[in-house]
């Protein structure tokens, strides 16, 4: 109230109009940028998805044919399945490992911060570098992992070249790369829980597990929900390791949707089909996030 009076008395009505104009001018770069680089492209993708087009010859309108083709395409079904296999295969272990590590850290002191910095290194290493290093570690005869597998009696494991192991191998790399990030988010949640709560429960005779199960976890629910949704959405958009390490192979064992869309558009030049596939997948991801949010909201409240 006071502020409003002061404003009126100093500048009067003029400021209001000037404010509107300057606010708009300052926001103008964003209006243009997001319209040109985000919203128009989305509309354009939708438009392209109704055409048959190869980037060069004139586009031919086909109605919903691209969507029908996708509905029947076993390649697309396979890529959907691979994407979700990868996403859940990566994120479910991450949820638990990250939470376990965060509990192990338990608090942020100067010593534990030092550990935290080391644990966080995989996150800052460029993804392409991680792919190269892991690809070399996965080499059946000279890779670093033979140090572990050979004494166990496994010789020449075809990590990336067998259709059964390729996906789990990329999943392992992704768990390594992603876990510390989510660990920090859990840790921030844990640190923000007041000590009094857990101490009070302990005084009342609760053991460690009971405190964790009935005090910590319920208080951590918003953080857990956040981690679950964010990690799944992020995992469904991963592209680089598949492109760099396996190119979707062997066969189609690791051809996730992102790779499928990229290849369909830029390799097979079926632009319309690729656009339709990306939109269908986007829709599925949105639905999945809503379902997860709804499911956890209703079961937790």
């Amino acid at each position: 109230m006071l502020r409003r009076i002061r404003r009126k008395s100093t500048k009067g009505v003029g400021i209001k109009k000037a404010e509107r104009i300057y606010g708009f001018i300052f926001a103008l770069p964003a209006i243009v940028f997001f319209a040109v680089f985000y919203f128009l492209p989305i509309i354009k993708t939708l438009q392209i998805s109704f055409y048959r087009w190869d980037f060069l010859s004139p586009p031919a309108f086909e109605g919903l044919r691209n969507y029908v083709v996708l509905l029947k395409s076993s390649e697309f079904h396979n890529s959907l399945w691979k994407s979700f296999y990868y996403a859940f295969g990566t994120t479910i272990p991450i949820w638990f490992i990250a939470l376990g590590l965060a509990v192990l850290f338990n608090r942020i002191t100067s010593t534990s911060w030092l550990y935290l910095v080391v644990y966080y290194i995989p996150v800052v290493v460029p993804l392409i570098v991680a792919c190269i290093v892991w690809q070399i570690m996965y080499h059946p005869s000279y890779g670093m992992l033979t140090l572990i597998t050979r004494p166990l009696g496994f010789v020449d494991i075809p990590w990336l070249t067998s259709s059964r192991l390729a996906m789990p191998s990329i999943i392992l790399l992704s768990i390594w790369k992603g876990t510390p990030f989510y660990m920090v988010i859990y840790l921030a949640g844990l640190v923000s829980i007041p000590r009094e709560y857990t101490e009070a429960a302990q005084i009342d005779g609760a053991n460690k597990y009971q405190v964790f199960r009935h005090i910590t976890i319920p208080l951590l629910k918003p953080v857990i929900l956040y981690v679950i949704v964010i990690s799944i959405i992020a995992a469904l958009q991963v592209f680089d390791p598949f492109y760099v390490m396996t190119k979707g192979g062997p066969g189609s064992a690791t051809r996730v949707v992102t790779l499928f869309v990229n290849e369909t558009a830029f390799q097979y030049l079926k632009v319309g089909t690729a656009a339709a596939a990306s939109l269908v997948f986007f829709g599925l991801v949105l639905c999945l996030s809503l379902v997860i949010l709804k499911f956890f909201r209703s079961s937790w409240e």
């Binding site: 300052f26 926001a27 964003a30 492209p41 392409i128 290093v133 920090v184």
Partner: protein, 278 residues
């Protein structure tokens, strides 16, 4: 006495398990460093060698002479710096506008910008390529950098931070006759330095790692950025592991260096959490 001993034992166990975890986690990185100093025959030895018998520094000169890594490195540096400066300027400007000005459609604009964070790059990459192509920007620096000069996350971050700056600063400057743009760069920008630091970290990591977009836009070898060049290197020289590792070390070192100096800013910036460590 007994409880002291117990606490000590628990402390040692705590350190031991964290240390063990740390070794497992950074093992691939250590291997990357050690293999980058090995001669080729040591990389391909059975059982696998963990350490070079005699460090071979020649690997590091060979990646520049044989593979001209410096060119790609420079491309990445230029791209990162340019994009970073644009992001700092535009995200602050737009964030300031959304935080401190009232104009019709402001809240809708903010909501729309937030919504763009949900859009996967996969969905917009084809039309984006068409746009760049129609502008004649394929295989150019502008085509590469332009779609990244403003990040929705950056606008959100700056807007949230600038909201916490008291209006009195702005009002006082206005009374003193300061122009609106001068208020922005003389008052708002300096006061937003903590948020700008966070923004810089996130942008740096994102742009340095950019893969899909340069893969599509860049067609000539001379303009490739580091990640694309590394991928090329992996397919062309798949057996020169020691050189591959040396190139990987070079690609990692700028980020790793900054990370060790500003580790707190990195972790807080990337996870979007502040005040992690007191």
């Amino acid at each position: 006495m007994k409880t002291v001993k117990k606490a000590l034992a628990r402390n040692i166990l705590w350190h031991f398990s964290l240390l063990l975890g740390a070794i497992v986690i950074i093992f691939p990185i250590i291997y990357m460093f050690s293999a980058s100093f090995m001669p080729l025959e040591e990389v391909f030895s059975t059982p696998v060698r963990l350490w070079p018998s005699r460090p071979r520094l020649l690997n590091y000169s060979e990646i520049f002479t044989k593979f001209s890594l410096h060119r790609y490195f420079l491309n990445s540096v230029v791209l990162t710096i340019f994009t970073l400066l644009c992001n700092i300027f535009f995200c602050s400007l737009v964030g300031y506008s959304l935080a401190k000005f009232k104009f019709p459609g402001r809240d809708i604009l903010f909501t729309l910008i937030l919504a763009t964070m949900m859009i996967p790059s996969n969905v917009i990459v084809i039309p984006l390529y068409l746009l760049i192509r129609s502008l004649g920007w394929v295989n150019s620096f502008w085509g590469l950098s332009f779609p990244h000069v403003i990040a929705p996350f950056g606008v959100f971050l700056m807007r949230q931070f600038i909201r916490s700056i008291p209006d009195d600063y702005i009002d006082a400057a206005r009374i003193d006759g300061c122009s609106e743009f001068k208020i922005f760069y003389r008052i708002i920008m300096p006061l937003s330095l903590p948020a700008i630091a966070t923004l810089s970290v996130v942008t740096f990591v994102n742009i340095w790692n950019l893969f899909l977009w340069p893969l599509i836009v860049i067609t000539s070898d001379a303009k490739k950025t580091l990640p694309i060049a590394l991928n090329q290197f992996l397919s062309n020289y798949a057996n020169d592991w020691n050189l591959l590792m040396a190139a990987s070390v070079i690609a990692t070192s700028p980020i790793l260096l900054f990370f060790f100096v500003f580790n707190r800013g990195f972790i807080e910036g990337m996870t979007g959490l502040s005040g992690l460590k007191e």
